[in-house]
Symmetry: C2
Subunit: 360 residues, 2 copies
């Protein structure tokens, strides 16, 4: 067939593929190169001058899984460090439906109207599954997202909480260097992420709903005890009375908890993000907390402890990761877990067998 | 001098050291050998026949830091495993002064009078410092210590909580194989040891005093949330009313906690170990718990999860121990912690430097 066709007078030569539009590809390449060529020094300089675009680029490098970006990200963090640490870091948690976004919208707008620059970060290790349940739908913060003194960054993705937390922790440094003096870190009150957030903020705020009891079911154990304040949200309309009753119940419950190292007895407030009531009082309360804990040095000590905590956490995480990723370990664990389940071997003897696989 | 002395007529030959009293040393040697010579099989056979002396010898081997004993201990645990797992394991915690010993004395005596065999173990990683603050002073359990159906073993010593916990966990297996059908594990409510105990028992009981609020100061966060029951102890004499008020307050507080996986809502009871009131009700409550959780399979699942937890805990502990004991690691950590403290380096960059020392 081929030969026949070739010989035929009807055969046409195939057309040549037209050359690319030189302009379009060149522009794309130039744009890409410009971003790549931007040195760490340039980015640091722009970030510390308050350039939000550079901040976003910096955080993108911090979040990048590309090993090439790793080194550059470290340089940027290192360069931003001397300009960081001057903010107030506030963690905000609460189960889905409690009105976190509306609250942050109202709270953040209040803060900027008082002359602050506010960065909103989120930590949500499950976001790869729920696909942006948290801060993803930026339209839920319509006002704040248009606010020139607010910076909103959705949750970093990643499959380990440690990894996501690390990225958020480093992003805080960049935001601070960029001049944001109040950092809000949002998280969903259903997992281990609260402990991670608690370890990177100065003040930890738990949002709740009125209704006493039932709505707590979704909140993981231990979160109540970490809270510096519980805010009963949606205290508006018919809810006001219920919210006030719930408040009294929380006051009583918190009274039973051990005193905090900060010397701050956790407070319970009501607020309506919708009607914008109680929001200013919450900010005043946080300021009182800052004054108290700076006076008694808890603020400073806590940050130092947090830094050391993150250093040790990172070390342990990577040592264990190295172990879990070693050849044949997953298999050995699976096999021995089954033996333990069948009561054929004690958990400790099983552990020894797994360890032999690694340390031999 | 030497030569002169030798030649002198005044020189006496040194006397020969009189031979040891053959009997005494022989007896000691025989006793020692008898203990050493006892094979693992012999010990297992004696333990599973209910021989408390053999049980003590077995636990001594489990607790021994001598590597030679390690293998033998593992054999004994392995041999006891098929006879274990048939008991009810109850954790009992509370700050010093709450009356744990008196409570265990009363509770244990009640249990044996009902036909049970009770073993009392303790976990107290601080015992090397406080020198037997817990169960060490056996005279505080005068009755129980003389009771043929009770076995009391003071806390194992050791410098890591993991190590002490492991030994207690393995001792439980031996006690069960020896026929003890109720295991009480005592701990002081001031440290991390509660989490360890919680992970080895079926039911976790928190002892408290009346007085509402203040006495909780000494209890570490999170312990309230682990409790399956809170018992207000010393509810006798003038304390009765106070204890009942405290009870109501705890009921209200526990109501705010999330539901437990066991399906069991934590209960609050009052008791007087001194006047022996409320003790039987506590035992009835625990039996109700066991029935409920065996029906809904939580009991079985929880034990399996605990086994896997201990396997993984042991693995992680040893992997990290290997890291921390590696050459130059302690130094590298110290050095980088200081740099983090001075804000010269981010916690994550510091972690990388330490890790390089290990993995290079």
């Amino acid at each position: 067939m081929d030969n026949i066709n070739r010989k035929s007078a009807l055969k046409e030569n195939e057309g040549v593929v037209p050359p690319n539009s030189t302009n379009a590809s060149a522009i794309a390449a130039i744009q890409k190169k410009r971003l790549q060529k931007q040195t760490a020094e340039e980015l640091i300089s722009r970030i510390t001058k308050g350039d939000a675009v550079a901040l976003s680029q910096g955080i993108t490098l911090v979040e990048s899984l590309n090993p090439e970006h790793h080194n550059k990200a470290n340089q940027i963090i290192q360069g931003c460090l001397p300009f960081a640490n001057k903010s107030i870091r506030i963690g905000i948690t609460g189960v889905p439906g409690v009105g976190k976004s509306t609250f942050i919208e109202a709270f953040g707008s209040l803060l900027t109207s008082l002359g602050n620059k506010v960065a909103v970060l989120a930590i949500d290790p499950s976001s790869s599954i729920t696909k942006g349940s948290i801060l993803g739908d930026k339209t839920r913060m319509e006002e704040l997202v248009k606010n020139p003194n607010a910076y909103i960054r959705p949750s970093a993705s990643g499959n380990s909480l440690g990894g996501v937390a690390r990225k958020t922790r480093e992003s805080i440094i960049l935001c601070e260097a960029c001049g944001y003096n109040i950092i809000l870190v949002e998280t969903v009150g259903v997992g281990q992420s609260e402990t991670a957030v608690h370890s990177m903020v100065d003040f930890f705020l738990l949002l709740n709903l009125a209704g006493a009891g039932d709505e707590l079911q979704g909140i993981k154990r231990g979160i109540m005890e970490m809270a510096d304040a519980v805010v009963i949200n949606k205290a508006d309309g018919e809810n006001i009375k219920k919210a006030q009753l719930a408040r009294l119940e929380y006051v009583r419950a918190l009274h039973l908890f051990p005193k905090k190292d900060s010397g701050w007895p956790p407070e319970v407030r009501t607020s309506s993000a919708l009607e914008q009531t109680g929001i200013l009082k919450i900010w005043e309360m946080i300021q009182e907390y800052i004054i108290l804990t700076k006076e008694n040095n808890f603020f400073q000590n806590n940050r130092q402890e947090q830094n050391q905590f993150w250093m040790m956490e990172t070390i342990q995480e990577e040592v264990l990761m190295h172990f879990y990723n070693a050849p044949a370990i997953a298999e050995a664990i699976e096999k021995n877990k089954k033996a333990v389940q069948k009561n054929e071997i004690s958990p400790f003897a099983a552990a020894q067998l797994v360890l032999k696989t690694y340390f031999k």
